[in-house]
């Protein structure tokens, strides 16, 4: 199933290994189950019966996922809608608790899952930079030192002092991305958010990500439907299908397998550029 899903736990357990050489994120046999209830009272019935009553159906969004995010790499994640990509990313980022398996995170990770995540609508752009930075656990001095870089990269000009309720999706994308990258995490996990910006912004993001992962101790994980984007940024790709990792390996090989699968199963997007 996987090209590089082996021996990681053995290697990690060896005490002589330099921690800096270990993957930034390691996931072993990850699984996420959602309990689906037909009505809210059913959960109460289950609780009150101390688990004897069984009122839910289980939906496994991700099952048995084992992968590493190595230092110095950009890992791509592809798959159809509902395949479990975002659920996997949320678990890798430490946002969602896995139902089974474990995630080891070695460093500071920023997940860019939604454009407005961490932003308050009542604040302006500049205030939101400070607010979101503090929410991510940084002190005011650290954020202040990077504030001008963030604003410059976001290219918001005078709008940075306007309430974010007046921002377009593109402006949110630029501000969110700038905030997450200039706070300088060890790893960036990005879920489709680059798709919102215009072409010029995307090119700047690509260049920034290339530079980011060229530092050997950094890594990025990109979830995207855009094969062009994955091909441009990633040397290694994970393909997820219905919650299971179908393949992990070199980008071209995995993309080709995914493209063939989509063609065979009629899942290719109408736009032929989607699979290239």
């Amino acid at each position: 199933m996987s090209i590089d899903q082996k021996n990681q736990s053995v290697a990690e357990s060896a005490s002589l290994i330099d921690p800096a050489s270990l993957p930034i994120v390691s996931a072993q046999s990850l699984g996420k189950r959602f309990k689906l209830y037909s009505k809210p009272a059913d959960r109460m019935v289950e609780w009150l019966s101390l688990g004897k009553a069984h009122k839910h159906t289980s939906f496994w969004a991700v099952r048995n996922a084992t992968l590493d995010l190595q230092r110095g790499e950009t890992l791509g994640v592809i798959g159809a809608n509902g395949a479990g990509k975002t659920t996997l990313l949320r678990m890798l980022a430490g946002i969602s608790t896995p139902t089974e398996g474990k995630v080891e995170i070695r460093g500071r990770i920023h997940a860019l899952i939604e454009l407005r995540a961490g932003f308050e609508s009542g604040l302006n752009g500049r205030q939101n930079v400070r607010h979101a930075g503090r929410m991510l656990g940084y002190d005011s001095g650290y954020i202040r030192d990077r504030e001008e870089d963030i604003i410059e990269f976001a290219e918001l000009g005078p709008y940075i002092d306007q309430p974010i309720s007046t921002y377009s999706s593109g402006m949110f994308a630029r501000l969110s991305f700038a905030l997450m990258v200039f706070l300088d995490p060890d790893a960036l996990l990005i879920d489709e958010t680059l798709a919102v910006g215009d072409e010029a912004f995307k090119q700047r993001c690509y260049a920034f990500l290339d530079e980011f992962v060229s530092r050997e101790d950094r890594a990025a994980l990109i979830v995207s439907h855009s094969i062009m984007q994955i091909r441009r940024l990633c040397r290694r790709v994970v393909w997820i299908d219905r919650g299971q990792i179908r393949c992990v390996g070199p980008a071209e090989e995995v993309i080709e397998m995914y493209a063939r699968f989509c063609k065979d199963h009629g899942k290719a997007e109408k736009d032929p550029r989607h699979i290239q």
Partner: protein, 249 residues
């Protein structure tokens, strides 16, 4: 937790013209209303109240409002911060902690105003005032513990918060806030006053602030027992049910 709490606190009032002032407007209306009704319209003299009624009322009402705010806002903390919980890897406890810290800040300013207000009625500094932060700290820990457990259950069942608001509206009458403790001694609801988690802290605050008397060991023991009990319950409930909180809020 402190840094994140401060960020949420700032953000909450950024869009309000009067901002933080709302924390004084609401209690001022409540204190004014109770003072008029129970200090003037009803004109009931309580033998146990040695100071003007508004001062007696404030010394009990402010700690009660602090506790009620921690419980009320703390219980809805996970649901009202779902934007953060679903998208950022921030520990859930931070959001309950923020409620406690912001409520402490509000209480401190409100109580500072009360001290100025009390000076007009002859309440002057006493050595026992150095102990006044202690009941509030212990009451804050009690509130954090209960709120953490309630917020966890409320993530699954939002009815919990609505039920709590109703209970708190009734519970003010089962704490020695509007009437002195002695008033309840012969009452059929006296036992409810004794089991109210805020009763001992309110008694301690009045003794320290108004009477200049250090509370007895039993009052301190009762406060600490509530704090330890609430923390044990809150942490246990959160640990038991936390795995799905971010999926259901």
């Amino acid at each position: 937790m402190f840094r994140r709490s401060k960020a949420i606190f700032h953000a909450r009032y950024a869009a309000h013209s009067l901002g933080f002032l709302w924390h004084f407007i609401h209690p001022a209306i409540l204190i004014g209303m109770y003072s008029i009704v129970f200090g003037w319209l009803v004109r009931r003299d309580f033998a146990a109240v040695s100071v003007p009624y508004p001062v007696f009322l404030c010394a009990g009402l402010l700690p009660w409002m602090f506790f009620a705010e921690v419980l009320s806002r703390g219980t809805s903390a996970f649901r009202s911060n779902r934007v953060y919980l679903r998208k950022l890897a921030i520990p859930e406890q931070v959001f309950v902690g923020e409620v406690v810290l912001s409520s402490v800040a509000t209480f401190l300013i409100q109580f500072a105003i009360l001290i100025c207000f009390g000076a007009f009625f002859g309440i002057f500094p006493s050595w026992t005032w150095i102990g006044m932060p202690l009941p509030i700290i212990i009451l804050g820990i009690t509130g954090f513990g209960f709120a953490l457990g309630l917020a966890t259950v409320n993530a699954y069942f939002p009815d919990i918060h609505q039920a709590l608001i109703a209970i708190l509206r009734l519970a003010i009458w089962t704490a020695p806030v509007i009437f002195p403790l002695a008033f309840y001694a012969q009452s059929s609801i006296g036992w409810l006053v004794r089991v109210n988690p805020a009763t001992s802290a309110i008694m301690a605050m009045r003794l320290l602030y108004i009477d200049g008397v250090w509370p007895s060991v039993w009052i301190w023991a009762e406060m600490l027992a509530w704090a330890v009990g609430a923390m044990v319950i809150g942490v246990a409930v959160h640990r038991l049910l936390r795995h799905e909180i971010r999926d259901v809020v």
